[in-house]
Each structure stands twice: as structure tokens, then as C-alpha cells.
Subunit: 228 residues, 4 copies
């Protein structure tokens, strides 16, 4: 009934049960940051060793603007509750699929394993003795019922923008995301953190891998400084 499902594009890294992260485009790199910093100093590249030291110096002293000239563009598919955390990052550009315009697909995040409520860190979750099979069945049944209600409302002629009101936040959405390397490092710092929800952490891990490939010197310097 719903339109053609958008498959994970080629080269995308799978995340969670139905999500992905895919690099669409990239501009810049480690040397772009070096050059942008050296415009300040009126000089050019001075060999790998000194260029890498410069990058580390910039990061250590909070001179982040040279990293803004490198830009990542990603195509993301993730559950709505993950997207809700994601969109809090304001220094970035977003183009998201519209559930007003298109009928949404029967695609929801079904956890592989449920985590128990953390009673120490009220915001967290921990591994716990839970009846995974039973919980999974209940969770899936709830989601199926929601999607059935959505379909029925659409069939009765209700506008998509209203019918989607019954759809759960585990529904998958998609968006294009453009963000510079400085803002992306900030995103990764917050979303790789052990306090971040495991689901968005999985996306951050996939993106960190892309960052490491595209800007290896910057990534290495950043990790070295933050592991201190």
C-alpha cells in the first residue's frame, strides 16, 4: 500500500535493525584545516609532522574555526526518537522526509534486546534479567496495532498529517544531514558518550568511522586530547 520503500543505498553502513548511515559527499580534509589555519599565519604546508602538530595545537587551544571548512554530507535513516535527539544539534542542515506528504512505511525499530531501567542513573539503562521473548512480542504487537490503525485511518480518508498521530516514535525516518567537521566533533563527543542512549550511540560510532577515514590526523589528535 505504501510507496516504494527506499532501500539502504550502496555503500551505506547498517545501523540498528533497519537504519543506515551513508556518506553522500565530503569537502575538505586534514590539509584544508591546515591551510585555513595557515592563512592566519600567512604560510603554507610544512611537512606532515609539523602539519599534524598544528592540528593538535589548534584543537588543544580551542581554535576550532579552521575545522569548519571541512564539510560532511550524510544520508541517515533512524527511528524518530533518535532523530529527535539528533535535531537538537542546531549548527547543521537537515532535509527530512515528510509524513505529511508521503505515506510512511511499515518500518519500526524493534530492539534486539531490551535493557532494564537503571536505578542509579535515572536517565540510563542497564542489562537486566528480562523476559526478552515476551517483551519483544508485546512490543511488536503494539507497533503492529499502531500501524494497522494508521492504515485504517488513511483508508477512511483521513489526511496523512493527522493519521500519523497514532504512529510510534520507533518509526524510521530519513534525512540528509550536512555538518562541518567542528560541529561534527561536538556531536560525536556528546553522542559517543556513555550517557548517550545506546541507539544514537550506534549511529555516532558509524559516523566516527567515516570521520576517521576522511580526516585521520584530526581524528587522532582529537582522541589523544580527549583520552588525556
Amino acid at each position: 500500500m505504501a510507496g516504494t520503500k527506499i532501500q539502504a543505498p550502496e555503500g551505506a553502513a547498517a545501523v540498528l535493525d533497519k537504519g543506515f548511515v551513508k556518506l553522500v559527499d565530503f569537502m575538505g580534509g586534514d590539509m584544508r584545516a591546515v591551510e585555513s589555519a595557515r592563512v592566519s599565519f600567512g604560510s603554507v604546508s610544512k611537512g606532515e609532522d609539523r602539519d599534524r602538530k598544528l592540528l593538535e595545537y589548534l584543537l588543544e587551544h580551542g581554535h576550532f574555526s579552521p575545522f569548519e571548512h571541512s564539510v560532511f554530507q550524510l544520508h541517515i535513516k533512524c527511528p524518530i526518537f533518535v532523530a529527535r535527539q539528533w535535531f537538537r544539534h542546531r549548527i547543521a542542515s537537515y532535509s527530512e522526509i515528510s509524513a505529511r506528504y508521503t505515506e510512511v512505511h511499515d518500518e519500526f525499530y524493534i530492539p534486539e534486546a531490551f535493557r532494564a531501567q537503571d536505578t542509579v542513573n535515572r536517565q540510563g539503562s542497564v542489562e537486566g534479567k528480562l523476559d526478552q521473548k515476551k517483551l519483544s512480542a508485546e512490543y511488536a504487537a503494539a507497533i503492529e496495532a499502531s500501524y494497522a490503525a494508521y492504515s485504517a485511518l488513511l483508508k477512511a480518508g483521513v489526511a496523512r498529517e493527522m493519521a500519523r498521530g497514532v504512529l510510534p516514535v520507533s518509526q524510521y525516518t530519513q534525512f540528509y544531514w550536512t555538518i562541518n567537521a567542528r560541529a561534527l566533533l561536538n556531536f560525536l563527543d556528546l553522542r559517543l558518550d556513555k550517557h548517550a542512549q545506546l541507539e544514537i550511540r550506534r549511529y555516532a560510532e558509524a559516523i566516527a568511522e567515516i570521520f576517521r577515514e576522511k580526516m585521520p590526523w584530526t581524528w587522532a589528535a582529537h582522541r589523544r586530547l580527549n583520552d588525556k
Copy 2:
């Protein structure tokens, strides 16, 4: 079972069936914009007539920065699907209640009347001959079932951050919102527009009323220019 519900605070304007908009604080005003503009000109107030003309001149010629020195602070309660549209506005500050930290309440948006899918404007909705009573019952039943599943998952020990995966986007959320007058005018232009979904339009109308009270000259000039 859930914690104490946060009641609509005193002075809040009711929006939709359970939402509200409440002005928490405000800084600036029409004369602040005048003064901020006149710092550019090295002069001060010149009487209401000339001050109002100045405001209109600024808006007409795209000199928006003097309006950034007036700041609105609002407390909002709205459905998640409305919040999702809202948070796309990046030049503003948000502090939202966390469904990871607190158990969410049994509060969902139930439309007074369902609108039919607009077949001309694929993104819109129109009044249509729909069996409101039947639809309303189906919609409410779906939401109740979702909340029951959420409660059951919590009872079984599932972490809040995971259990909420079954909750629909019609669930109410709350946030503090701080935004300057320039960015707020932009928000209002987009969200009062007839292409905006009716639900967020209701919030924009309540906020427009607050804007009009706090900055009447600016509002009048803005309306006059946009009605041309």
C-alpha cells in the same frame, strides 16, 4: 502511576485539547529596537510617529538586527509531531522534558475533528465527509493500546528510554523556548501560513497574540508590509 502531571501554569493560553503557550519572561520591546537601530545613527528617540516609521523602514529594507535585542521566553506544551516541526527552527534555545528521565503521562492529542487528505496539495488536508465519531473512537483506542503497552513494558522493568518506543507522536511534550523577536517573526511567518499544519498554526496564533501585546508597533508594521 506516572508522576505528578504538570498543570497548565497560570496565565497560559490553552491550545489544542491539552496544550498551552505561556510567556515566562520578556526583554526589550518596540523602543529597544528603535534604540538599537539609532545606535547606528548616533541618535535617540524622536517621538512615536518617527519611531514607528523607523521600525517600518527597518523591516521593509531587511535591517533585522535591531529586533534581535528583544527576547521572548515561552513555556510550551504540544504534541511531539508539532514539536518536531517546531525544533526545525534553529535560531532559538530549547530545554525539553526527557522521556528517558521521567515516565511520560497519559496525555495525547485527540483531534476534535478529522480532516480529509487534500488531493490537490499533497501535503495538506481539507474538510471532508468523514465519520468523525467512528474515526475518533478508532484513534483513541489505538492510543490507549499504545499507552497500555508502554505501561506494561515499564512494569516488566524495561528502561523508560526503550519502552517509550511504542508511544505515538501525538503524545504531549513540554519545553522552554527562548527566541529573539527577529527569529520569532520568521517562525510566525512560516507557521501562520495556510500551508502549515493546522495544529502548529494554532500555537503560532497564540504566540502571535503575545507578540502583538509586547511589541505592538513592530507587529503592526510587519503585518502591514506582508499584507501588501
Copy 3:
């Protein structure tokens, strides 16, 4: 005495007497905006005609986010008083040469022709009967005296960051500038305007040319809408 002058890099467009605009890198394009918009609609390209109409539709209805996924990177050399107007545009990234770190060159903007004070538009200038030769000599003499004082202070051991206090705002500076297509259109609208100072308008014209080359459909649609 000063360090090696940075020559206009290859491919740079000359602006004013010693300035330039040079495209360093670019990401995206017209079709990127189309694709980013269509992610919202869950569809792909539909032929030039419909894709161009989509771009015009987006611009006309204030749907600007699809244009944020195209990014321009420029190397600019301009007088300080132009840079001061430029840096007011906050949705962009800047890396500027530092007069604290390097000794600045003897490079200042010398107008080809002086304009008279506009007495109607207090902020503007007009062609007028001025003794160009005499004015030019006076202007150049003032600047030479300033640079001589700067050099003398440096020679006496004064820190660069203090000695530059005597240098005039006509001094040339350089910076890397990264900006997305949406923000760049806004920059161009304001800086191509007849109320903008002629000097920054010259830069805007050079950049408009680059925009037109890289995103011809977007540029054409934008011009068509703004000429209405």
C-alpha cells in the same frame, strides 16, 4: 621588510585595486538541492523541466533548507572596512589572517574615484564634482604616513598587535570563507543591493558570477522571483 606577499592565486577574480575572490572548493549543486528536497517527498529526479520548477517552487515558498546542502568555499582579499561588513553575516565560517601573528603588508585600498556624500540618503554616496587628483594624493599620503608610523613602531620593538593600531581600515586583509548556498543567496541579496557600499558590491558581483556558474538553475529561479 614585511613577509612574502600572498599573490592573487590562479583563477582568482580581481576585485577593486588589489583584492580578489577565488573559489577554493564547492560541494553540491542544483541537483543536490533537488535530491535534498525530494528526500522529503520520497522520490527522485523527474527531468530538467520538473526539477527546475521544483527549485523555483522551493524558493518561492520559503523552503530554503534543501539549498543548505550545497557549500561554497572562497578565498577573499578585501579592505578591512569591507571585511567588517562581511563578518556581520554569521551563518558562515571564517579563517582570517592575523595582524597579531604576522607583519601586515603595505597594501591599502586606493579608490579609483572618490564619490561625494549623498545628502538625500544619509548613508550613501553619489557621483560628484570632486578634485579627484588632489583627493587621491591626500588620501595616499595619509595612508603612507600611517604605514611609515607602523613600520617605525615595529622597528622600535613594539608588538605587532599594538603597532597595527595606527593602520587604516583601508588595509587589505584575507580570509577563507565557507558558506552554504542558502546563506550565500541572502548575502548576495543584501550586498548586491543598491544601498550596499559600492566596494562590497563589487565583491558580491564577483561571487554572484561564481554562484551562477555552479548553480545556474537556482540562480535563474532566484533572479526571476526577485525581479517580479
Copy 4:
């Protein structure tokens, strides 16, 4: 010849020889940050001790958004070269006096004492054995000559926007500045740093005093964390 000079407004803190910092307005405070954070937790104030601990917890774990709901508004008068560093901070609002619109005053920064070039930190300055009297006379003479040239150009009918090309970056300018507490802490961190130029550091010190008065708990927590 120039228009009425704008005197330091009442209550302004003097900075450098002719500059000032003046708090125009303020919204929020420590408790606003507490309340904004607690909206996330669905609770209210819990006594000074626990509220202060919450503020420290937020700052320590990078939860900065609750601090965005407190907003400072300042009127600043500073040399252009200081303003140039200042305006690099993009998450803030600026309204600056225009040298295109008004004739600028004969007000320039004259250092009390010249610092020598630091030969270790190429970007810095150090105390050094300099002939202060001689340097001061040379510096002042250069500036007077520049202002005389400016006046002569104006007298000959040259437009203000062009004549100002000969004015040095030590000229005083003025602006209104609106910035939230989160962004202001970032500004202060960078501009109180010993690597910042002494002149802007003086402004940061005056503003830090205002911050400390208006948000004493936040300031104390921030200092405690950064002195670790």
C-alpha cells in the same frame, strides 16, 4: 565639527582610555537555568544546595542549553581592532554605529604603555624596555594626522563611507550586544585567556564582573570546574 559625542552612560564600567561596558538589560539568572533544566526532569527547585549542585553537574557534563535561557544585553564602546575580534563570536546579536551614516568622532585608543613583541609566542606581547614617551608621541601624531586627513576629505565633499578609509583601527566604535549566558561563558573563556590580546581581556574582565553579579552560582561553578 563631529556630532554630539555619546558619553559613557550612567552605570557604565570604564575600560581602556575611552571605552566602556554597560549592562543595558538582563533576563533570567541562576534559578532560570535550574528551572529550565528541571523541566527536563519534571520537577522544581529543591533548595539552594541541591540547585547549586545541579548547575555544577550541568556545566561539568556539557548540558549547556539550560544556560541559554538567561540573556545579557550590553552597550560596548571599544577600538575597532577589539571589535574585530569580538564580532567573530557568531552566537550573539550586534547593532553597531555606522561610519557610513554618521561622522565619526576624534576618539582613538592611545595605549598607556606599549608592550614589546613576544619572540617566543609569535602572537603575543611582553613587557619590554621601550621608550614609552617617544613611542606614545609617534603613535598619537600618526593618529592625529589620520583624523586630520579624514576631516579634510569630508570637507572637500567626499562621502563618509570613503573618507573613513584613512581612519586607523584604534578608532572607537560602539555597539549593542545581546548574548545568552552559555555563549557568554564561551566568550569569556576565550577572551580572559592569557593568549587573548590584553585590550580585549580588559573588556572580558569587566563583563565577567557583570556575569558574576547576575549569575553568581553559575559563575562560581564554572570557575571551580575550569580551575581544576
